[in-house]
Point group: C2
Amino acid sequence: MDEKITSRENAKIKYACRLASSTAFRRTEGRFLAEGRKLCPELCRGAELETLFYTENALEKCPELAALPGEHYLVEDHVADKLADVGTHQGVFGVFRTPVHTLEEVRPGGRYLALERVQDPGNVGTLLRSAAAFGFDGVILSEGCASVYAPKTLRASMGAAVRIPVIETGAMPQAIALLREKGITCLAAALYQSQPLSAAKAGYPGGVCVVIGSEGQGLTDQTIAACNSTVRIPMTDRVESLNAGIAGSILLWHFREESL
Amino acid sequence: MDEKITSRENAKIKYACRLASSTAFRRTEGRFLAEGRKLCPELCRGAELETLFYTENALEKCPELAALPGEHYLVEDHVADKLADVGTHQGVFGVFRTPVHTLEEVRPGGRYLALERVQDPGNVGTLLRSAAAFGFDGVILSEGCASVYAPKTLRASMGAAVRIPVIETGAMPQAIALLREKGITCLAAALYQSQPLSAAKAGYPGGVCVVIGSEGQGLTDQTIAACNSTVRIPMTDRVESLNAGIAGSILLWHFREESL
């Protein structure tokens, strides 16, 4: 029989809430909180589950939760409400160890996505999911990107955050320089002075990295200058722009794993 | 000097609110309500603006609103709050005539997107925007789709709703049959017994229609059977699925206007 948490002031609950709300706390603790009956088991496939909280109702609907690893706690509904980042939730919450990856793991011949200051959690999550879907080897995030392990990003990525190596780094131009030293061709997504995607070859035996900038400003001039060349998605003049998640996913599709 | 509306019970305000909240009312009236300092002028490029409401503050920030056609009314902030579908708004609202298009306008050799029971307004809006971006000639929506002229869809489409002909129809299989009579190849997006997109040719001189189903269930069996063949986006096994807006946009990119 699992221990039951009845107080919103329980130390484990307060710790979990702080993981959900603070990027800095997630980073120093090396842990994150995820919510979802489907998302938590999904995340177990790529990250270590330390603590699982669920309501009685959630366990009834989903008895297989009991088979997941880690310490388990039943929580009362009002405690679950406190853990939830959004109004509606499914009564299942997990504290996971954050997988850590570094730029040193980047390998020649690989396929990478780099995001510079992409601030919308939905876009970051969507792009992680598309990168995993199309066989990319890793995602590099500059400072200023939405946190990969924030509740909204985790929901949008549907667990892809732990199915593809995520590398959090500082300034993007330095990261690009390091990739280029490894022989990886870095392509900046930019509207001006760029070649249309339809003219860009898809295969780069030495490796390729697609570099995407923020929703409002796009890439910084320094990052564009650090890349080998630029590429854009050609469009009719009937729209001004595409959503960043959409544009990025089309680029990822173009540069997908050859077997797909 | 524009007339000023100070009451939330003003008949024009109540009429506009009803347009925002009721699909049936929009349909019988042949009008819709849009919100946004950028969206309203954008929609003027493709739809007739009948009435424009703005707050003093919005007019100060955006004096060019005064040059838009139609009847103009200043509204007090609390009246604007009533017109707004979401908590935050920019104080600019327009009542537009809904452009009406029918299946009879579908032309041999054209490029079409057909949506069957796509229920998420964000996905419908995103797909309209991508279809306009990639040179499609029209979008066909079955019964059960999110309303194109609902506030959320209009926001997601960023005005594309009036830059590409939108045809609202009933059951999808009948619409597909009509397109095929015109020599248009209809391709159903489906996961099973389908050919990968990478193997699908992009050019169809007789015309092509990409058919996409609902987020949860996909296309109905009847619609798949009515199409010429099926196509899917190949993916690694690291994700279960792609977001419907993303998957659809990749298909639209693949079948884009030749000049792009």
